[in-house]
Amino acid sequence: MTLLETRGLSKSFGGLRAVDGVDFAVTAGSITGIIGPNGAGKTTFFNLISRALPPTSGTIVFDGADVTPLPAHRVARRGMSRTFQATTLFADATAIENVLVGYRQRTRSGLFDAMVRSPRLAREERDADAAAREALATADLAAAADRPAKSLTQEQQKRLAMAVALVSRPKMLLLDEPFAGINANQTRGLMALIESISASGITILLIEHQMQVVMQLCRRIMVLDYGKRIAEGTPEEIRNDPAVLDAYLGGHA
C-alpha cells in the first residue's frame, strides 16, 4: 500500500526551481532512500512533504489524504515525524523533556487541566513519562534522561532527535542525513536501530549521502538532481543507471 505519494511536486524560490515536478511514491513498511548530489533539493523535498514549506505546485497525499494545504503541525499529527539535517533539539531542556515534547501530540490536556491539576493531567503525565522513558531506552539514552540536550555528544543528540520523532508513534519517519558525521561503529549501531524501527512497522524515508548505507538499508531509492527525479528503483537498478552515474560523476559535486 502506498503511504506517501507526491505528484508534480515543485518548489520555486524566486527564479530558482529547487524541486521540479517530482512524482514519488513510498510503500508502507519499507525503507526508502533519497539520494542526489549536493544542492539537488533533497532537504527541500523533505520540507515540502512535511509541510515545513509550502509547495509552489503539485500535491502530496499521505495515508490516503491530501495534505498539500495543511500546516506542518497537522501533517505531523497525521503520523509523519522527521529529524533535521542539522540536529535540532530543545537545547536547554533535558533529554527526557525533549522526548516529552515529542509525545505532546498524543495528549489532550490543556490550560484548564494545567490550572486545576485535573486527573486527566496526572494520568497523561504518567503515560507520557513511561512512553518517554521507553523511547529513550530504545535509543539507548536511558542513562542520559536528565541531562540537558546540549550536554550530549553529537551522536547522542542524533539518537535523541530520533527518540523525539518516534515517541509519537508515527506512521512514517523522515530522516535527513542521520549518518553524517559519525564513525563506522556508530554507523553500524544506527543502521541496526533504523532496521529495528522499520521492523516495528514504521515506514522510513531517508536522505543520505553515504552510498553503502543507502544501498544496504533501502529497498527502493529515488535520485534527485537539480530538483528533478532522474531515477527511481532498487539499489541494483540505481547502481547501474547511467543518468545517476552521470549526475554524480559528470560535472558537479
Binding site: 512535511s50 515545513a52 500546516p71 506542518a72 503541525h73 505531523a76 499529527r77 515525524s81 522527521r82 533535521f84 542539522a86 540536529t87 535540532t88 533539539l89 530543545f90 537545547a91 536547554d92 531542556a93 533535558t94 523533556e97 516529552l100 515534547v101 515529542g102 505532546r104 501530540q105 495528549t107 490536556s109 490543556g110 490550560l111 487541566d113 494545567a114 490550572m115 491539576r117 493531567l121 497523561e124 503525565e125 507520557a128 536528565d146 540536550a149 546540549k150 543528540q157 523525539v164 520523532a165 509519537s168
Partner: protein
C-alpha cells in the same frame, strides 16, 4: 532549601503589611505587588513563549480603564469591573494576538509597539469616553467581600498580595504542565515544535492572551487602589519598566518577575533622590544586564546553586542559548 523559598517569601510578605506602619511604604508595597502581577504577565509571553510583545502597557491601561469607566459611568462596582476588565483584556489580547503573531521576531515587536501606541493614543484622544488628558477620578476601591472590608491600606495590601500569589501559583502550574512545555518548545524552536505536531500559532496566542489578561488584572487593581487614572497608565514607558523588572529578575523564571519588580521598583521609590536619574539608570541597567547577565538574577542564582536544578523547564533558560545546531 530552594523548595522552601517561595513559602518563606510568602510568609515574610504576609507579615510585611503589619510591620510597615508607614502609610507611604505600605502603598509602595501594594503598588509593587500590582506591578509584579503585570511583570508575571509579561514573563508568560516573553519568558515562556519567547516573543517580545511591546503592547503590554496597553492591556494594563485597558484593564485600568475598564474598572474606572464601568464604575464612574455605569455604576458597576469594583468587583464587577475587575473581572470584566480581565475578560476584556483577554478577548482583545486574543484578537490582537491572532493578528500580530502572524509576524515573527522583530516584525512582531514593531507591530505590537505600534498597537500599544495606537491604544495609548486612542485612550488619550477619545475624550468623550476616557476624558482624555484629564483622566478619570473618583474610582471606587474594592468593596467588602462578606465580612472583609478593603478600605484600609493594610487590607488592600493583602488583597494585592493575594492576587499576586494566585498569579505566581497559576504560572507555576502552567510551567510544570504539558502546556508549559509546549510554550518552551515554541520559544526554543518553532520548526521543531511544528514538526512534533504543536500548533505554534495557537500556543503563542494562548500565551499572549494570558499575558494580556494578567496585565489587565494588574491595571484593574491599580485603578481601584489609586482611585484616579490618566492615559499614562497605558504609556509605552510602562512596558519598558516592566521589561526591566522581568530582565533583572530573570526572564522565564518563576520568581524572577516578582523579585525584579521589588528590587527595581522598590529601589526607585525608596531612593527617591534617584527619581531624576531613574530612566538613565534603567536604560543603562537594561543594556548591562543583556550584555553581562542575560539570565538576570535567577540565572545568577542558579549559577551559584550547588545542585543542578531538576526539571527546570522555562526556568531561566537564559537568553544566551538557542537551539542545538
Amino acid at each position: 532549601m530552594r523548595r522552601a523559598l517561595p513559602s518563606i517569601a510568602l510568609g515574610v510578605a504576609a507579615l510585611l503589611p503589619l510591620a510597615l506602619r508607614n502609610e507611604y511604604y505600605l502603598q509602595i508595597l501594594t503598588q509593587a505587588y500590582v506591578l509584579a502581577i503585570s511583570a508575571c504577565g509579561l514573563n508568560v509571553i516573553l519568558g515562556l513563549a519567547g516573543q517580545l510583545s511591546l503592547a503590554h502597557s496597553a492591556f494594563f491601561g485597558i484593564g485600568a480603564y475598564a474598572v474606572a469607566l464601568l464604575a464612574t459611568k455605569a455604576g458597576v462596582p469594583f468587583w464587577g469591573g475587575l473581572p470584566a476588565g480581565v475578560l476584556l483584556c483577554g478577548a482583545v489580547g486574543f484578537v490582537i494576538g491572532s493578528i500580530c503573531l502572524r509576524s515573527r521576531g522583530h516584525y512582531f515587536a514593531i507591530f505590537t509597539l505600534a498597537v500599544g501606541i495606537i491604544i495609548h493614543l486612542v485612550i488619550q484622544k477619545w475624550e468623550s469616553l476616557t476624558h482624555g488628558h484629564i483622566g478619570v477620578i473618583g474610582i471606587p476601591g474594592p468593596g467588602p467581600l462578606g465580612p472583609i472590608a478593603f478600605d484600609s491600606s493594610v487590607a488592600r495590601s493583602y488583597l494585592a498580595l493575594f492576587f499576586l500569589a494566585l498569579t505566581v501559583a497559576a504560572t507555576a502550574r502552567l510551567v510544570r504542565s504539558p502546556v508549559g512545555r509546549t510554550l518552551m518548545a515554541v520559544r526554543e524552536s518553532e520548526a521543531l515544535a511544528a514538526a512534533v505536531g504543536i500548533d505554534v500559532m495557537a500556543a503563542k496566542r494562548m500565551a499572549f492572551t494570558i499575558s494580556a489578561a494578567l496585565a489587565g488584572l494588574a491595571g484593574g487593581l491599580f485603578a481601584g487602589f489609586i482611585g484616579f487614572l490618566g492615559p499614562e497608565a497605558a504609556n509605552v514607558e510602562m512596558t519598558f519598566n516592566t521589561l526591566l523588572y522581568v530582565m533583572v529578575g530573570g526572564i522565564g523564571s518563576l520568581s524572577g518577575p516578582v523579585a525584579g519588580t521589588f528590587i527595581v521598583y522598590g529601589l526607585s521609590q525608596v531612593l527617591a533622590v534617584l527619581q531624576q536619574f531613574q530612566m538613565v539608570i534603567f536604560g543603562l541597567a537594561l543594556v548591562l544586564l543583556i550584555l553581562f547577565m542575560p539570565s538576570g538574577l535567577a540565572g545568577a542564582w542558579k549559577a551559584f546553586g550547588r545542585r543542578p536544578v531538576r526539571r527546570s523547564l522555562g526556568g531561566g533558560g537564559g537568553l544566551g542559548e538557542g537551539v542545538v545546531r
